[in-house]
Amino acid sequence: MNTMTILVADDDPVIRNLFERRLKNAGYEVTVAVDGTEAARLLDATIFDVVITDLVMPGQIGGIELLKIAKEKSVDIDVIVITAHSSVDTAVDAMKKGAVDYLEKPINFDELFLRLDKIAEVKAMLKNAGDLREAMNVTELSASQTIQDLEIVNGNQRNLLDRLDAILSDPRAAEHKRIEQALRLLATR
């Protein structure tokens, strides 16, 4: 049930193809971009659940800039940055700026799949929580309406019983008159 859509931005064609193949095989919907500029354009046109981006890419838009663009587009997009083994500091910096995670090169795909599983899980729970909140609102409203409606019905019934009681126990009228009047009241109800 891997239904997440993933955008991969990396200028290295070998790594790009590797990502595309491995992620597709695992059932994800994958789109690849050759650099930050193309990735930014794709982000503008469609929505992705996850963006995986190399931190260092040629051109105007590097990994950090792409991270910023994705987060501005929607906070729901999760960004994973890829970093060279020696530059963990920049990865930590990216996480401070909103990346969910970082991967070191060479990519360990088993590790990546585990992290994607976690991301999918968090997304599912956020959806659960949103639905829970909305259901609580609607259910609470329905409960208060139900109670109010029943109160009104109950009040009307009590009122009717009181009137029947008054008619039936009226000492001034003959018994058959009282019954007739009571039946008439019930019929017009």
Binding site: D117, M125, N128, A135, T139, L141, D149, L150
Partner: protein
């Protein structure tokens, strides 16, 4: 996030009503924005009116399906409210089995249950689990458990029988969890026997109920609360038509049929209410 304009709210809520019967008023602006924003984005819409037009023009109905998935509230849990399930276990199923079994002792006893807005399946799986606990050996019974919902995504999850940690922790005891589910990665999967007892399919409750057949028990819980009074009346009338004469209807614990369908009379057992036909 794409903002919805006040003149678009009417258009979009009317559209949602037309395709699903779900009635949203002006106060649900936030809901429209938070739930439709991603779809609008995905289809490159510049406004919600644009989304509306694209969805109407889409012959594949893919956008319409996404809108329904997004707008429907699929909140549910296993054994929700407890009471109705105790009622099923201690009164409804035993009585039905007595009534059905006496008719033809050589044949299998038939039981037909419909979860009319089954969402992600917890309600119907709870019934399937309960029947196994109650009956033990199922070979003497012919059990038909049907779950329907308007949301494709909900039906897909129900059919997969997979639930996440959050879903599994709500309403299921430890021993039921270990007895009826197996862990698979981050999720838990219902066992094959329980899965084979149930069937899920897409169905819009606003449609006529033709071809569904008759049912001994109908669970129509926490869905009519999203409909107008008029539509609730029609819905419960249609349910009355497809319920066996001695069948049972269960509704949500915050709901009432007073003033909605006089064909049903409320009855009380073990602190829970159920409905039967006059």
């Amino acid at each position: 996030m794409l903002k919805i304009l006040s003149e678009e709210i009417k258009l979009v809520t009317k559209y949602i009503y037309d395709i699903s019967g779900i009635y949203l008023d002006e106060s649900k602006k936030y809901l429209l924005e938070t739930r439709l924003n991603a779809i609008a984005d995905e289809h490159g819409c510049v406004s919600y009116q644009d989304l509306y037009k694209k969805s109407k023009a889409d012959a594949t109905k893919a956008i319409e399906r996404k809108i329904i998935d997004a707008i429907s509230t699929n909140e549910t849990l296993f054994f929700r409210d407890t009471g109705p399930f105790q009622l099923l276990q201690h009164k409804i199923f035993p009585e039905l089995i007595d009534a059905r079994a006496s008719k033809a002792s050589a044949l299998k006893t038939n039981l037909k249950v419909w979860s009319a807005a089954s969402s992600t399946g917890q309600e119907l799986y709870s019934v399937a689990i309960l029947l196994q606990e109650l009956l033990g050996d199922l070979s003497k019974y012919s059990i038909k458990l049907l779950g329907t919902d308007i949301s494709d995504a909900a039906i897909a999850q129900a059919s997969s029988g997979k639930f996440n940690k959050f879903e599994i922790e709500r309403g299921l005891s430890r021993d039921k969890l270990t007895k009826y589910f197996t862990p698979s990665g981050q999720t838990w999967k219902i066992n094959d026997l329980t899965r084979s007892m149930v069937k899920f399919q897409k169905f819009n409750l606003m449609q006529p109920f033709t071809g569904l057949g008759k049912f001994d028990v109908v669970l129509c819980r926490n869905v009519a609360i999203y409909f107008t009074l008029e539509d609730r009346k029609k819905l419960f009338n249609k349910i009355a038509d497809i319920l066996e004469p001695d069948g049972y209807l269960l509704i949500g614990s915050t709901e009432s049929l007073t003033g909605i369908c006089p064909r049903f009379i409320p009855k009380r057992h073990l602190r829970s209410i159920f409905y039967q036909l006059h």
